[in-house]
């Protein structure tokens, strides 16, 4: 058994090295939040994510797109089909096919559509944002180290620039952004979005809610993954037990020193 233990220690060491180097990141200490989606049993905080969706529509969507997120994906946040249709119908989208005269066909949004991007292309986006490009946010919590905590920190990280620092024209000081000068003005502040369920309308709450929503957008299969993980792990641990016992039984005569090879002339 001692050998099995050495192997386990070695494997842990190897994986730690592997994980450690992957995590080599920035030195700014981020705010650490408790997220309901963390851990092996994590699930999305649906009410928070729904409020986050509201924030996205009312605030972020005027500058950012969300191209991998389709209205139909809202079902994963607990919305009913008719509500999803209603959300989609609030938007006008350009159909992929032209109309019968060959002109662009504008129609009401459907569940299969993404929220229409606010700008026609990157140049248009830059022109409206002082030269900066508001990135698509579909994968933002996976495209930054420790993404959810980073997003939360970024949203709440607009502070007074330390004395002596020079914030260029059109830039804003953010404690957590690389280089600190970000072209996006603080999009959130107390009271900016009106909640209907009585949740406090504070910056911290907004940041928490938008992070929950955007993490759902980035990793929509998280709950399915966690749900499948449990039975798979249970099966594998069960099989470890079974094969361990079978192996021990089979090896008994070997351990007892019996001769078990009975062929050939040697």
């Amino acid at each position: 058994m001692l050998k099995a233990k050495t192997i386990l220690v070695a494997l842990t060491a190897v994986t730690t090295v592997a994980f450690g180097v992957g995590a080599a990141g920035d030195s700014i200490e981020m705010k650490k939040k408790e997220w309901q989606f963390d851990g092996p049993f994590g699930t999305f905080d649906r009410p928070a994510a729904q409020r986050g969706f509201q924030i996205f529509r009312e605030v972020c969507s005027s500058c950012h797109s969300l191209k991998y997120f389709k209205f139909r994906n809202l079902s994963g946040l607990g919305y009913e089909d008719d509500m999803i249709k209603a959300f989609a119908a609030e938007y006008e989208v350009v159909d992929a096919d032209p109309d019968e005269y060959g002109d662009e066909k504008i129609r009401k949004g459907e569940p299969k559509d993404a929220i229409p991007a606010p700008f026609a292309n990157e140049n248009a986006a830059r022109a409206s944002n002082g030269g900066a490009f508001p990135p698509d946010l579909s994968l933002i919590t996976k495209a930054r180290a420790d993404g959810p905590n980073y997003l939360f920190s970024l949203m709440t990280g607009y502070v007074e620039a330390p004395v002596g620092t020079d914030v260029p024209e059109g830039m804003h000081y953010n404690k957590y952004f690389i280089g600190h000068n970000i072209a996006m003005a603080s999009p959130l502040s107390d009271g900016i979005v009106t909640y209907e369920d009585g949740t406090p309308e504070t910056l911290d709450q907004y940041a928490y809610d938008i992070t929950n929503f955007l993490h759902y957008v980035a990793e929509p299969k998280l709950e399915e993954r966690h749900a499948l993980g449990l039975p798979v792990m249970m099966f594998l641990f069960f099989m470890i037990g079974v094969t361990y016992l079978v192996n021990r039984k089979i090896w008994k005569p070997v351990k007892e020193g019996k001769t078990l090879w009975h062929h050939g002339d040697d």
Partner: protein, 431 residues
């Protein structure tokens, strides 16, 4: 030597088949009761079959991913996202394949170190060892090209940085200086153009699909070569009589079976609970040739070699860059000569205390090389020492170990007395 009883089927259908194609006999004699194995193999001997399992997993998940993947620079990133979002169990296939590559390297690296520790590379297993190294080189090529396929920022910039090193071959033949040197030709052959672009993606995809089957072929040769001398063992001495041997089946099939489930459990934990932990966040940003990431790093399993590549900073006869490329290839190629660099007749480190000490030093050295590989050259590690300096010391030690220490050591060291036989060493007296 490694021959057991022949397979004589009783069932008439089996018999009919066997007379025309002796496939059951082949299985019987290579993985079944007909293959004699030493009775004392420890758990480090599980990693060969685990590597084989990884290869199968990579091929199966890879073929399924290929059904949905689009190898075009405008669609590759989208198609991968679509796989994880809209294809049934696509997320599972993708996470198995990306993390499976890491698990494959973990298994193979442990497998190689097992061979180094117990002297499995020594006669009569040199061919086996060299075929293993061919597998490792092919795996590296496959993984490098596979990483480019999702067309994220790290895919693009990793490929750009690494292939750019090959322009160092201009040192051999510079041409007119207008892009017709040897290095330029090598680079444009790799990339299908002057920079990483759609032709690069297409040829990498084509080769990424092909190479695993080449690997499969070499694995068959590898196992064939294994079955000539049979397995080495922790004592490093040959099997001499019946009492040293046990049939592969059921003993090692059972033991490998247990190992498989332990390995799969660790693999599953990564897939289900930390699927992005071994990747780089920048690869979730679509490739953009106009924006260079702050910090370009290859996958963890290339880091030791990346450090060696970057450790040469002074031009000397040829450019520093060319030294780096030569050293990186040399660091792997030299392993082909290991059976001759180490001339000791004693195989197992158990009986070579000094060799054993330096084996562990080498392992630490590789951990250092890996760790430094993820840092930028000028990062201060402690006091005033930069990452590049530590990398240079570790690179020096790596070559020093193989080119100086090992040849000298294997000639002068005092080895411990070897046991009479496997059985006499491992069977405790029951009297």
């Amino acid at each position: 030597m490694a021959h057991g009883p022949t397979f004589e089927p009783k069932n008439s259908v089996l018999k009919w088949t066997e007379e025309r194609l002796p496939i059951f006999g082949l299985i019987h004699g290579s993985l079944g009761p007909g293959y004699p194995a030493p009775r004392n193999l420890n758990y480090w001997w599980n990693f060969g079959s685990l590597a084989g399992l990884c290869l199968v997993i990579q091929i199966i998940t890879g073929i399924i991913l290929a059904m949905h993947y689009t190898p075009h620079i405008d669609m590759a990133f989208d198609s991968v996202e679509r796989i994880t979002r809209d294809v049934n169990y696509g997320w599972l296939m993708r996470y198995m394949h990306t993390n499976g590559a890491s698990m494959f390297f973990i298994a193979v690296y442990i497998h190689i170190f097992r061979g180094m520790y117990y002297g499995s590379y020594k006669a009569p297993r040199e061919m086996l060892w060299m075929l293993g190294l061919v597998i490792m080189l092919l795996m590296m090529a496959t993984a490098f090209m596979g990483y480019v396929l999702p067309w994220g920022q790290m895919s693009f910039w990793g490929a750009t940085v690494i292939t750019n090193f090959f322009s160092a071959f201009n040192d051999l033949y510079a041409g007119s200086g207008n892009g017709d040197g040897l290095g330029d030709m090598v680079v444009s052959l790799l990339l299908g153009g002057f920079s990483v672009d759609n032709p690069t993606l297409n040829r990498f995809y084509s080769l990424h699909y092909l190479l695993p089957f080449v690997i499969t072929g070499v694995v068959i040769l590898h196992i064939w070569a294994l079955h000539i001398p049979g397995s080495n063992n922790p004592l490093g001495i040959d099997m001499k009589g019946k009492q040293d041997k046990i049939p592969f089946h059921p003993y090692y099939t059972a033991k490998d079976g247990f190992g498989v489930f332990v390995f799969l459990a660790i693999f599953a934990m990564v897939i289900f609970y930390a699927p992005d932990s071994m990747g780089h966040p920048d690869n979730y940003i679509p490739a953009d040739p106009m924006v260079t990431p702050a910090h370009i790093v290859p996958e963890w399993y290339f880091l030791p070699f990346y450090t060696i590549l970057k450790s040469f900073t002074i031009d000397f006869i040829i450019t520093a860059k060319f030294w780096g490329v030569i050293a990186m290839f040399a660091s792997i190629i030299l392993l082909f000569f290991l059976p001759w660099l180490d001339s000791s007749k004693v195989r197992s480190a158990q009986f070579r205390p000094v060799f054993r000490f330096f084996f562990w030093v080498l392992l630490v050295d590789l951990v250092v090389l890996t760790w430094i590989g993820a840092k930028s050259a000028d990062e201060i590690i402690f006091m005033d020492i930069q990452a590049v300096t530590i990398g240079q010391v570790a690179t020096f030690w790596y070559f020093f170990h193989f080119f100086f220490l090992l040849p000298v050591l294997s000639r002068v060291e005092k080895t411990l007395p070897l046991p009479e036989s496997i059985a006499s060493a491992v069977i405790k007296d029951k009297a």
